[in-house]
């Protein structure tokens, strides 16, 4: 069975990828990152809307999640791409109109899932935190931003990391609307040469991406846990904190 694997192709693909492959890999990376980021923002707004006293906002949030979790992502990607016009962006590299459509579709879909994750994270924060903030005269928005969300972030990061892991692999669906990403590249190699090992090589690259992310996520979680551990901050940080309100805020928000 081992001899049936074309090691030559795998070796080439792993260690000597060419320019088009690099483009494809980059496409997978930036589409995942942008779509996940926008998805988190959308999910945050949807979560706040869901918790709002204004009932139309709550209803809107409910419909949004119902529709985008209840219909297949592939359908959403196709529909968005073909029903609307999308621009091609040139921002140092080219983002095709299909890639833009894919990012939008992936973001909207992801937001529907992030809403629940974020809402659960916010809910998990003790009600006393919000009460303390408000009794100090903070308005709801300020309390959410400065007190609740920074704490909720710790709870949200692990499931968010999971979502991002999925996102990197789900971007392969963009292939169906013509985006040249990792899977498309393997496809092309395969259809030219009929050597299926292109897919083994691309599976490896997906594994690389998801592994890198696992490390990044662990780092983020460690940083967020620092304040929970109650570490005393160092002298340099003290200096910075004393003279730079922005830094102090950033540390607080971590």
């Amino acid at each position: 069975m081992l001899v049936a694997i074309d090691w030559h192709v795998i070796w080439l693909r792993l260690f000597h990828p060419d320019g088009t492959f690099a483009r494809a890999l980059w496409a997978t990376v930036y589409i995942s990152v942008v779509a996940q980021t926008l998805g988190v923002l959308l999910g945050l707004f949807a979560a706040l809307a869901r918790m709002s006293r204004i009932w139309p906002l709550r209803a809107l949030s409910g419909v949004y999640v119902l529709v985008f979790r209840g219909t297949p992502l592939l359908v959403q990607i196709f529909y968005l791409y073909f029903a609307f016009s999308w621009p091609t962006l040139h921002i140092g590299f080219t983002v095709s109109d299909a890639a833009v459509a894919a990012i939008v579709a992936l973001s909207i879909n992801e937001g529907a899932y992030m809403r629940e994750i974020i809402r659960a994270g916010i809910d998990s924060i003790d009600k006393g935190q919000m009460e303390a903030a408000r009794s100090l005269g903070m308005r709801y928005a300020l309390a959410i931003r400065r007190i609740v969300l920074p704490q909720a972030a710790r709870v949200i990061v692990p499931p968010l990391g999971n979502e991002f892991n999925n996102m990197m692999k789900t971007t392969s669906l963009a292939y169906t609307i013509g985006v040249y990403e990792l899977f498309a590249d393997a496809e092309q190699g395969y259809s030219r040469t009929f050597i299926a090992d292109y897919f083994i090589a691309v599976a490896f690259w997906y594994l690389v991406l998801t592994t890198v992310w696992t490390f990044v996520q662990a780092m983020i979680e460690r940083r967020l846990a620092a304040s929970e551990r109650g570490d005393v901050i160092g002298f340099r940080e003290r200096l910075v904190a004393a003279w730079n309100p922005v830094t102090a805020w950033a540390r607080g928000a971590r």
Binding site: A133, G137, M138, Q151, G230, A241
Partner: protein, 254 residues
């Protein structure tokens, strides 16, 4: 009288069908320390939370410094006030919670300066100066860069007191501030509160600590079953209580 800081008139509050406050009337004057005592379920915590509108009242009125709390006069009727106004009213009322509710992702110093900077708009240096003074007063200057997670309950509560005082409120509310503390550390918190009382802070304290009430209160108020059943000086209470319920209650806890 113009030196009335807090005036509650016939305050009513129900949770669903359960009527918890059945018409509470109380005036607190500038510099007074009023202790509210009573069995659990008497409504004392609910009442104090109505003062800064953490609970909405269903009947009656509460004014602090002459401002109606939570509601506005409009065309002769009372309508619920805007979130902005309520937040502003709360800046004049400081609250210390039974479970401290310090912000765990911020250091002690950051906890204390947060609201003065973000809500009052105090410049950073000024807020820090004020905070350091207060931390000095509560005896925790050396912990300014520590995270709450590393502090004992008594230390956390003292920080909470400093945090509330940083807003320079006209009225300080204490909701059973030592009930969640180990006996060894209640002393340090109570002595801070006694000092505040002697310095002329206007305070309303819901507590079971009779020792504190005897030493620091100008007036003690006994609540039972949603109403005030007895009111008087500490001597009156501890030497000659009038109501049967009061006698029963005091005999149980003294």
């Amino acid at each position: 009288m113009s030196d009335v800081v807090m005036s509650a008139e016939d305050v009513r509050k129900s949770f669903g069908k359960l009527e918890v406050l059945k018409g509470v009337t109380l005036d607190v004057h500038k510099g007074e320390t009023v202790c509210i005592i009573g069995a659990s379920g008497s409504g004392k915590t609910t009442f104090i939370r109505c003062i800064n509108h953490l609970e909405k009242i269903d009947g009656g009125r509460i004014t602090v410094n002459g401002h109606l709390i939570g509601y506005r006069q409009r065309n002769g009727r009372l309508v619920e006030d805007s979130e902005k106004n309520i937040a502003r009213q709360r800046t004049e009322i400081g609250m210390v919670f039974q479970r401290f509710n310090l912000f765990p992702h911020m250091t002690v110093l950051e906890n204390v300066v947060e609201a003065p900077i973000r809500v009052l708009g105090l410049p950073h240096d000024q807020a820090v100066f004020r905070a350091e003074e207060l931390l000095e007063r509560v005896g925790l200057s050396d912990k300014r860069y520590t995270y709450p997670g590393k502090l004992s309950g008594g230390q956390q509560q003292r920080v909470a007191i400093a945090r509330a005082l940083a807003m320079r409120p006209a009225l300080m509310l204490f909701d059973e501030p030592t009930s969640a503390l180990d006996p060894e550390v209640t002393g340090e918190v109570l002595s801070v509160m006694e000092e505040l009382a002697h310095e002329g802070t206007t305070m309303i304290v819901v507590t079971h600590e009779m020792g504190f009430a005897r030493k620091a209160a100008d007036r003690i108020v006994m609540m039972d079953d949603g109403g005030i059943i007895e009111e008087g000086t500490p001597e009156h209470f501890f030497t000659a209580p009038e109501q049967e319920r009061t006698k029963q209650f005091l005999s149980k806890i003294l």
